[in-house]
């Protein structure tokens, strides 16, 4: 993307209405939105349902094509499509994670993952779709193996966070899991080559330039060498990762993540942030604004710097809970 001038603007193209309570999360179906297949979006809400929206026709408006209801008994907090786009996982305050499969336009709940003691806050699939991770207020992170016939088996329950875990996210290229929490830290989890045991290999806290309050979200760029975290401390931080060291198999070497830059936002805690394919970072905050950040052309001696590209104030009437790029 070549920004010739500084007048980049965010323009609303459509407002999707239907949910009867706040919308907490969104997810684009990765198997849609290109090669003539209309884009499909899932949204989840405090109204206990998940809505599926499809663009009709391919560059026309979005319409609601399905409502996934009568399954979760409390707020649905997060949703995530499997890499193949065939399955949708939904995490709920009712302490369960539901797995949905669709055939045609109909969705069916094919599995329910139980185990968390209370509210499940986030769900994430790894790059190959062989593993699923969930986390919640019970301070734990669970890793599930995806087996044939829509069976799921818990392979690890990770303890380590001292508070509510807000989000889990798999690295885009390596099977390393990241989690962020009300305890102000980000933790990195990897499998020990020999014993198939998952354990925490790094903690990003205040002592290593980490956040000073709840970390709400984290996201990776496409290659996975950069990560952005967003926090109640009103900042977003960009971290660098050494992929080579992450990938060297056998004995796992700790992932060094160094804080590169941080931004201060005016009022609202930063609830969400996401990298797009070309490295533009979008953030949503409790001040109702959406911001875009991009790496600056003027590079410093000690590393890249970032600048605010544009800010859309009052993007919504209330807090922006989730931002997601359509990478098609």
């Amino acid at each position: 993307m070549n920004f010739v001038d500084d007048s980049v603007e965010l323009r609303e193209v459509q407002k999707l209405e239907g949910h009867t309570d706040r919308v907490w999360g969104l997810a684009w179906n990765p198997a849609t939105g290109s090669a003539g297949i209309p884009a499909v979006l899932a949204s989840c809400s405090g109204d206990k349902t998940v809505r599926i929206w499809r663009q009709n026709p391919s560059n026309g408006p979005f319409q609601c094509t399905a409502v996934l209801e009568e399954t979760h008994t409390r707020t649905v907090r997060s949703c995530a499509w499997s890499p193949s786009g065939k399955l949708l996982a939904t995490a709920s305050f009712d302490a369960t994670t539901a797995i949905w499969e669709h055939s045609g336009g109909d969705f069916e709940c094919v599995s329910t993952l139980e185990g968390h003691e209370n509210e499940v806050k986030s769900v994430s699939w790894n790059a190959s779709g062989s593993l699923l991770a969930t986390c919640g207020r019970d301070k734990s992170v669970w890793i599930w193996e995806v087996l044939p016939g829509n069976e799921f088996e818990c392979v690890s329950v990770l303890q380590g966070h001292t508070q509510d875990v807000k989000m889990v996210q798999w690295h885009p290229t390596v099977d390393v899991l990241f989690s962020c929490s009300y305890d102000n830290t980000v933790k990195v989890w990897a499998e020990d080559g020999d014993s198939d045991d998952w354990h925490c290999v790094q903690t990003l806290g205040e002592s290593n330039n980490g956040h000073s309050s709840t970390v709400w979200a984290l996201s990776f760029n496409a290659t996975g060498d950069k990560m952005v975290t967003s926090s109640d401390d009103l900042t977003i931080k960009i971290w660098g990762a050494d992929i080579i060291r992450m990938q060297s198999g056998g004995i796992f070497a700790p992932l060094p993540a160094i804080m590169i830059e941080q931004f201060f936002q005016s009022i609202g805690q930063v609830l969400t942030s996401k990298y797009d394919r070309e490295g533009v970072i979008a953030s949503g905050a409790a001040d109702d604004a959406v911001r875009l950040f991009v790496e600056s052309e003027e590079s410093k001696i000690d590393g890249p710097t970032y600048k605010l590209l544009t800010r859309k104030e009052k993007a919504h009437d209330m807090d922006v809970n989730s931002v997601q790029w359509n990478s098609a």
């Binding site: 009867t20 309570d21 706040r22 405090g46 409390r74 707020t75 907090r77 305050f93 509210e119 806050k121 207020r137 509510d164 807000k166 009300y182 309050s213 709840t214 109640d232 009022i267 609202g268 409790a286 009437d317 209330m318 807090d319």
Partner: protein, 159 residues
């Protein structure tokens, strides 16, 4: 739930003469303390000057003072204040859901920040953090027991 009262002998202050006012500032009246038949105003848990309204930014900050330093009811009181504020704002902001017990910021454009007055609570930072975590507040208000408690505290304020 604790079996004994946290503060069995609260100091009771005289209730202020009520004037005809509208707006977020008069929501402190008649919210019952979770443990006693007195209102939060009578117990000086919350006073009028502890409510700051920033009209321009549509931001309201409420500071409340629990009667004792180790009050474990602090989070419940904080929740009551949140819910009362939401229900008391002008009618055009009212939620159209039938379940009004939920703290529903969806239809409202006012930010509410609720905190314990500095120096008045032993774990003030912890209480403030919880009260201002929208996800924790939302989940708490899906708990029927907690909602019942909040409703009971707020009942006299609707008379």
């Amino acid at each position: 739930m604790v079996s004994g009262l946290i503060n069995a002998n609260p100091v009771v202050y005289e209730k202020k003469e009520r004037r005809n006012r509208t707006g977020p500032s008069d929501v402190d009246e008649d919210i019952k303390d979770p443990e006693h038949p007195y209102s939060l105003e009578e117990l000086k848990v919350i006073t009028e000057d502890a409510i700051e309204v920033d009209d321009q930014r549509s931001h309201v900050r409420v500071t409340f003072t629990p009667t004792v330093e180790h009050c474990s009811m602090a989070t419940v009181i904080g929740l009551c204040l949140r819910v009362k504020l939401m229900r008391s704002l002008p009618s055009r902001y009212k939620s159209s859901l039938s379940e009004l017990v939920k703290v529903n910021f969806f239809y409202l454009d006012i930010k509410v920040d609720i905190r314990v007055a500095p120096g008045t609570h032993a774990t003030e930072a912890a209480v403030n953090k919880q009260l201002n975590d929208k996800e924790r507040v939302a989940a708490a208000l899906e708990n029927p027991n907690l909602v019942d408690m909040v409703d009971e505290c707020l009942a006299p304020s609707y008379a």
